[in-house]
């Protein structure tokens, strides 16, 4: 049903109610009711209930419910079937705006402007299409005209403009908006919003795939969203809206948005159940308490995959992740700033063993070009290979000699003993790498630290080597293809900002200066060639995301950025038998 003016809504109710009158009479106490009486009774009710100021859309279920309520008939049954998702991404606060994982999960209820499709291409979600000016400073997004908030109001360009201005004002992560956004203009006629930036910005369509759109008429009354802690419900414009965040039940519940005009989802509710540990999540999955598993930027634990498959109740989606684990040399220190030394490092690592131990076979040996094959414009550079003999020879040829014969090469007269900084979550990789390096004569000492300590140490460049990982978003941010982690001009929590080679920086700038796809493809190839030639970071393995799902349901969808947590999953998953 499209937008219905108020009088048409009432008419629809009247017709519907009239059609229900005989049934009502038959089922009721035998009293009869003329259409005029019915009309006189229903119209004021409907006007008072639904046709208030600004309400422009009535959902069919609302009309039916109102009519049944009026006639004293049983209300139409709600769809109570629930899609249940287990996740180890624990929601910490009932803060719609500020909690990191609430922000991700509410992509379902408060649709971002764009989304990524299964092929890694950006497509419209709230936006129907977009245009960008030739100088890349002005972006115009044309909105879909069939989006409605769950309270019945239409999604407007004002909502979109407000969302980003509000974001820039209140969200530290989105400080770039405040710093670069010059102005926004909206066009109600074209249902469009134009953003003007103070410098060329070529990746706004990507940035806009991560920020949720908010209903202005609700949030404009909330002066500080970071302090706004409510359990719900929250008005949303997706196929579902967020009904409740219950920290004590460890659950978020999304309920069907009856004003959603697109393909109708099969489930009445979507429940996101978080578990503070993976073992409990795995048991709940195996017991059938939940239907699938989702963890942002990560796979289901590989060790548990076979056990789930053995139940016969689960199938798996297995997709190559664009996130990866890597070893980063501190390029500001010797001998890591020596390319020969980095070549020796690359040859010293037993990639096959890492793939076997860390991914249990759900991974592959990476290429020298760093970027995994799931990314756009992947270039097939040579694969990294374990060759300890070559590593020792390179060290020898480059002057790193073991003069005292103790098995460890020397640098400036002393045994090399590199500080190998290992972040939580990569403990096993750190231990293995320490062994590999010592095997070729490079002494290393593992320093295992929690994430916060790691942030400080890497920002102070207080390490020789570090083991860390990328997220899908991290691979896409900045100039894309992993560049955001290394560009020395950036600061941030997970980024290393340790590469200031002018060639590299120029490449980043070139990418950032164009939105032309042919040029981007060329630059992406050059960037991967740069990684191949210079090894500023060494990928340890590429991995698959393995997502188990209940075989009773079909229609699961995976995209590189948010995995299965994509609108296509929620619109398409339904009973396999159906």
């Amino acid at each position: 049903m499209k937008t219905i003016p108020a009088f048409l809504s009432c008419l629809a109710v009247l017709i519907l109610a009239a059609s229900l009158v005989p049934a009502a009479c038959a089922a009721g106490d035998g009293e009869t009711m003329t259409r005029a009486e019915l009309s006189a009774a229903i119209l004021p009710y409907m006007e008072a209930t639904y046709c208030g100021e600004n309400v422009v859309h009535l959902a069919p279920i609302e009309i039916r419910t109102a009519a049944c309520r009026f006639l004293g008939l049983p209300e139409p049954p709600e769809n109570t079937e629930a899609l249940r998702i287990a996740t180890p991404n624990v929601v910490k606060a009932t803060n719609f705006y500020d909690d990191y994982y609430v922000g991700i999960f509410t992509h379902l209820s408060n649709l971002p402007m764009m989304r990524m499709d299964a092929n890694g291409h950006l497509v419209g979600l709230t936006a129907d299409r977009y245009e960008v000016s030739s100088d890349n400073t002005q972006w115009t997004f044309y909105l879909k005209d069939d989006l409605f908030w769950s309270d019945g109001r239409r999604v407007t360009p004002e909502d979109v403009a407000f969302s980003f201005e509000y974001l820039g004002e209140h969200e530290p992560d989105a400080g770039w908006i405040k710093e670069t956004l010059v102005g926004t203009t909206v066009s109600d006629e074209e249902n469009a919003v134009t953003f003007t930036f103070n410098k060329p910005y070529t990746t706004i369509n990507l940035e806009f795939a991560t920020y949720n759109i908010l209903p202005k008429h609700i949030w404009e009354h909330i002066s500080d969203p970071n302090e706004y802690t409510e359990a719900g419900p929250f008005v949303g414009d997706g196929p579902y809206y967020l009904e409740e965040i219950d920290l004590n039940a460890a659950k978020m519940t999304f309920r069907k948005n009856h004003h959603w005009q697109g393909k109708q989802p099969a489930f009445g509710t979507v429940e996101v159940h978080w578990f503070a540990n993976d073992d409990a999540a795995a048991l709940a999955l195996e017991a059938g308490d939940v239907d699938t598993y989702y963890r942002y930027a990560n796979s289901y634990p590989y060790a548990g995959v076979q056990r789930l498959k053995d139940t016969g109740e689960f199938n798996t989606l297995e997709k190559t992740s664009i996130g990866l684990t890597f070893l980063a040399p501190n390029l500001k220190r010797a001998p890591m700033n020596d390319l020969s030394f980095r070549e020796a490092l690359a040859d010293a690592i037993n990639y096959d063993e890492l793939v076997a131990v860390d991914t249990l076979g759900y991974g592959t040996v990476p290429n020298r070009g760093f970027v995994p094959p799931g990314m756009d414009y992947f270039a097939d550079t040579p694969a990294l290979a374990y060759d300890p003999v070559a590593a020792r020879q390179i060290l020898h040829d480059a002057g790193y000699l073991d003069t005292d014969g103790n098995g460890i090469v020397e640098c400036n007269g002393t045994d090399l003993d590199l500080d190998l900084l290992v972040r939580t979550g990569f403990e096993r990789d750190g231990q293995l790498i320490e062994e590999y390096l010592e095997d070729v004569g490079i002494g290393a000492t593992v320093h295992q630290v929690d994430s916060t300590t790691w942030f400080s140490l890497k920002d102070e460049y207080d390490y020789d080597l570090t083991v860390t990982g990328t997220t899908p978003w991290g691979m896409l941010m900045h100039a894309g293809w992993g560049t955001g982690y290394f560009d020395s001009r950036r600061t941030g929590k997970g980024v290393l900002h340790n590469l200031d080679d002018p060639v590299y920086l120029a490449l980043c700038d070139n990418i950032l200066a164009t939105s032309d796809q042919a040029q981007l493809e060329r630059y992406a190839g050059e960037m991967q060639a740069y990684f191949d030639d210079n090894l500023p970071a060494i990928a340890l393995y590429w991995k698959k995301d393995v997502i188990p799902y209940n075989r009773a349901y079909t229609g699961w969808y995976y995209e590189p950025l948010f995995g299965i947590y994509d609108i296509e999953t929620f619109l398409n998953v339904r009973a396999a038998s159906g």
Partner: protein, 316 residues
């Protein structure tokens, strides 16, 4: 009276030290709280980082921050959490209720079971029943809490399907809360009972060989009368201290059990605050725990006075 006054002064000094430590310890940890406020893979300008730092007051000298902390404490203001965007007091109160529920029950029931089982096991340690009790208590004590909790989850929730896998409830009803908390409370009770059993057993073994116990027997008192009338009272003194400490730490939660059963308790709250370097939350939580420990110790001293006439006489 002088003794009590001296104790009071000692506890007051302890509290003062606690206040200084709760402020200093979080700041002694490496890492920048500001970095944790921004997202994982985002780039923010130094200006934005400085603005956040200024907003949460970390740009000021440490002495000034401490003065501000003291001033807030005097106004019963525990500050505002960096990460959870809420007043620390509200966060602590919300979690304390639940934590008190599941750790409190476990401590009380665990103490009762432990005292009883330990007394029986210590009185006749050579019997099979006593050995079985001791073995069971030792086995539970030696089991890592995380493992035992997971084992129970796997058996009772997964295999038997008797209990839910996570959370404090599905619907906020009495029945649902009991259903959800049964397993976590059971695990915590077992640990408390096992430890108390072993302590109590050792204490009873020691006390039953004392002269007063021998004298009581010589007077013709029954075993039951000797055990429960004389030995139990003296043997329970170490347990009083332990239970007092347990109550002191009641608000520190039970981290492993909270993680296994995904419970929204104080343990995970503090753990997350440590990882995120959430200074106000850490300060508030540590302070509450420290005050509880001090109060519990004070209470234990008072109980000692009641239970042990020798201490009463010393006081006089």
């Amino acid at each position: 009276m002088t003794g009590l006054l001296a104790k009071g002064i000692r506890y007051a000094v302890s509290l003062l030290v606690v206040v200084v430590l709760t402020f200093a310890l979080p700041r002694a940890m490496p890492g920048d709280p500001v970095m944790n406020i921004i997202g994982e893979d985002v780039s923010v300008s130094p200006a934005t980082l400085d603005a956040i730092r200024a907003e949460i007051g970390l740009d000021r000298p440490v002495t000034e921050q401490f003065a501000s902390y003291l001033w807030s404490l005097l106004h019963l203001d525990l500050g505002y959490s960096y990460h959870l965007s809420a007043p620390v007091f509200d966060l602590l109160v919300a979690r304390m209720g639940w934590t008190l529920l599941f750790t409190g029950i476990a401590i009380v029931v665990g103490a009762a079971i432990g005292i009883l089982a330990g007394t029986v096991a210590g009185w006749r340690p050579e019997t099979k029943r006593s050995r079985a009790v001791t073995l069971a208590a030792l086995a539970v004590s030696c089991t890592p809490p995380y493992f035992l909790a997971l084992l129970f989850l796997s058996f009772f929730s997964f295999r038997l399907g008797l209990f839910p896998f996570k959370g404090l409830y599905d619907e906020a009803t009495f029945g649902s809360v009991v259903h959800h908390l049964f397993l976590p409370v059971l695990v915590l009770t077992l640990f408390a009972a096992a430890r108390n059993t072993l302590i109590m057993r050792g204490s009873v073994v020691q006390e039953k060989g004392s002269l007063y116990a021998l004298y009581a027997r010589a007077r013709g008192l029954s075993d039951r009368a000797v055990l429960f009338g004389h030995v139990l009272k003296n043997a329970s003194l170490p347990i009083v201290t332990l239970i007092a400490l347990d109550f002191g730490f009641i608000f520190s939660g039970a981290l492993f059990v909270e993680i296994v059963f995904s419970l929204n308790g104080m343990g995970t709250l503090i753990y997350d605050a440590v990882l995120g370097r959430d200074y106000p939350l850490l300060q508030g939580a540590f302070l509450v725990i420290a005050v509880m420990v001090v109060c519990a110790n004070l209470a234990a001293d008072l109980v000692y006075l009641l239970v042990d006439p020798r201490i009463r006489r010393q006081g006089q």
